[in-house]
């Protein structure tokens, strides 16, 4: 545990007091951080390249939405749990089948799985509201005490922050455990891991399912905080968006999700509405530059800078 690991949480708490008018936006940032964290587990640590992670985000969102709309189940915390279970189950099922392949084939399969879910949701419009989605979802007060709907930004923000913290603790423990270290081994040299006798596929499927469950929690939070779910939660835009966020911040190092989400969403909020085409151009250019020169994102650049500043003192 290093001292600066407390900084993101202090910043999160400070934001509550410093930006009282932006707490709804802040909740969305927290949700994106959680989503990016889940992607970091599969992409940054296990090395599974997926363009379909929104499948689990959407699964979580629709679970919460359908529970609230059709079965009147609107207790927030149990809704989260249901979303995590459903998303995790989909992750387990698809992981068992998909993770036999790799490379372009795996990429295509993750895309197809997500597209299947999206089309399925579109077709089952009686349950999901189809293209229009499910607006106006209502939720019961959290723990019976705190009122919880669109108007109560403050309680939603605190709720999201607490959940992010809990999930982050899980991820951090996982990543620093033997399990997490073996994932790095699998990512770097899978043949050797097989030779050493590591249960490669079991590990990959496990981390894929855990990541899916976390993405599902993020999706559930999305449905709860926006009181609205539509097909965009399962779209390629959302999957590509979270990938961009993670890469820009730096993958494989947990805090890249924080940095990337804050930077991307703040910039998007400021620029995208005013100059939508310019924003697209900028994001495209940034991606090209990152792919060519700054593979480890913003945190990687910060590392390189720190090393260069320290290099002067000799090692």
């Amino acid at each position: 545990m290093r001292w600066w690991e407390a900084l993101p949480w202090l910043a999160g708490i400070a934001a509550y007091f410093l930006f009282p008018n932006y707490l709804a936006f802040g909740t969305q940032v927290l949700i994106t951080i959680l989503f990016a964290l889940s992607l970091d587990l599969v992409l940054g640590y296990a090395g599974i390249l997926t363009l379909g992670h929104a499948a689990f985000f959407g699964a979580g969102a629709y679970t919460v939405g359908m529970l609230a709309l059709h079965w009147g189940w609107n207790e927030p915390l149990s809704g989260l749990l249901a979303a995590a279970i459903v998303a995790g189950a989909i992750g387990l099922a698809s992981g068992l089948v998909l993770l036999r392949t790799h490379g372009l084939t795996l990429l295509m399969l993750t895309l197809c799985t997500m597209a299947l879910l999206e089309e399925g949701a579109n077709m089952a419009s009686a349950y999901t509201g189809g293209f229009d989605g499910m607006p106006g979802l209502k939720y019961a007060p959290l723990l019976g005490l705190f009122p919880f709907d669109l108007l109560y930004f403050r309680s939603q923000y605190v709720y999201a922050l607490a959940l992010l913290f809990a999930c982050f603790v899980v991820v951090r423990v996982l990543v620093h455990s033997h399990f997490g270290l073996s994932l790095t081994g699998i990512r770097e040299n899978v043949i050797r891991m097989h030779a050493v006798g590591a249960p490669v596929r079991a590990r990959l499927v496990t981390v894929y399912s855990v990541s899916a469950a976390l993405a599902g929690v993020a999706g559930a939070l999305f449905a709860q905080s926006n009181a609205y779910v539509n097909l965009s939660v399962l779209s390629l835009e959302r999957a590509a968006g979270v990938l961009i966020v993670l890469i820009l911040g730096g993958y494989g190092r947990l805090y890249g999700a924080f940095v990337g989400a804050v930077a991307y969403m703040v910039l998007e909020h400021a620029l995208a509405k005013a100059y939508p085409t310019g924003w697209q151009l900028g994001v495209g250019l940034a991606l090209m530059v990152v792919a060519l020169y700054a593979r480890n994102g913003m945190l990687g650049l910060a590392d390189a800078l720190r090393r260069r500043l320290r290099g002067g003192r000799g090692r």
Binding site: L43, L49, L51, V97, L98, R100, T101, G103, L104, T105, L107, M108, L109, L111, C112, T113, A115, L116, E119, G120, N122, M123, L236, A240, L243, I244, I247, T277, G278, Q280, L281, V283, G284, L285, A286, L287, M288, V289, V290, A291, L292, R295
Partner: protein, 287 residues
């Protein structure tokens, strides 16, 4: 619509997919490079063709040649300057780079030309219908089928009978061995990439009436091109041909019969096919 019309319509759509995707399949099989920006070359070619016809009054065949040459030249520049740096990079970096390139291309086209759909104005001799004896069908679609078939034959001959084709086939099967036999693989990459992108450009222009032509084209059809390439097998021209016809036909038929569930079937089919044969229907593991 009767069966023959449906069949012809689907074949035409499949041919367009083939013309655009064959370049992607060969370059991915040859270079192992995940190029998600291939659709952008098709779009740029389409714009070049349509705009040269409307702006400069070029006749249709000349406009096609112009599109081929212009996009081919552009792709050589991009390949030498940017793509070549990422040949040894991870798949993730390649995906990121090409997604970035797509976004930049879409934004650039939106900013210079505008977000509207461009319409292809067909020359006189391609409009209307042609009577084939058995059936009357749109001349344009028949032309597409003919061009696609001719391209397939031409490519097959090119791969089987020319030295360049042999070199490409060798490098796709086993790049290192080909290099040690004296094949200049780097130059092969550039040539193949240029040819592939040029073909995509022609496909983008030819297919403008079926697939449409607007700035969102590369992203909208990315999944289709990737599906055709993955199902057909990387680097297998005959595989891409059959996969493109299959997907084009299926999509066409399903959109008419089941407007709501058609795309779902294609994704499910792709999923099943790739799980059964991860290297594509006709691909095989390369060395």
């Amino acid at each position: 619509m009767d069966l023959t019309s449906i069949l012809l319509g689907g074949l035409a759509a499949g041919m367009v997919l083939f013309i655009v995707s064959v370049g992607l399949s060969v370059t991915m099989g040859l270079m192992g490079f995940v190029n998600l920006a291939h659709g952008a070359f098709a779009m740029l070619g389409g714009y070049a063709i349509v705009l040269s016809m409307s702006g400069w009054g070029l006749p249709f065949p000349l406009a096609l040649a112009f599109g081929f040459a212009a996009v081919g030249a552009l792709s050589v520049v991009l390949e030498r300057l940017l793509y070549a740096r990422l040949y040894r990079a991870s798949e993730l970096d390649q995906v990121l780079f090409t997604i970035g390139l797509v976004l930049v291309t879409i934004a650039a086209v939106t900013l210079t030309v505008g977000p509207e759909t461009q319409t292809l104005v067909l020359p006189e001799w391609l409009r209307g219908q042609t009577d084939l004896g058995v059936v009357r069908y749109r001349t344009y679609s028949l032309m597409l089928i003919a061009v696609g078939a001719a391209l397939m034959v031409g490519l097959w001959l090119g791969f089987e009978r020319t030295r360049l084709g042999a070199q490409i086939r060798a490098a796709v099967d086993n790049r290192r061995m080909a290099e040690s036999l004296g094949v200049n693989v780097r130059r092969l990459f550039t040539v193949t990439f240029a040819l592939g992108s040029g073909l995509a450009a022609v496909g983008g222009g030819l297919g403008a009436e079926i697939l449409g032509l607007d700035p969102q084209y590369p992203l909208r059809y990315l999944a289709y091109f990737l599906i055709v390439v993955a199902v057909g097998g990387l680097g297998r021209v005959s595989g891409v041909f059959l996969a493109a016809l299959l997907i084009g036909l299926l999509d066409f038929v399903l959109k008419i019969q089941f407007p709501k569930g058609g795309t779902l079937f294609i994704y499910a089919l792709t999923l099943a096919l790739l799980l059964w044969r991860p290297h594509g229907l006709f691909g095989r593991r390369s060395g």
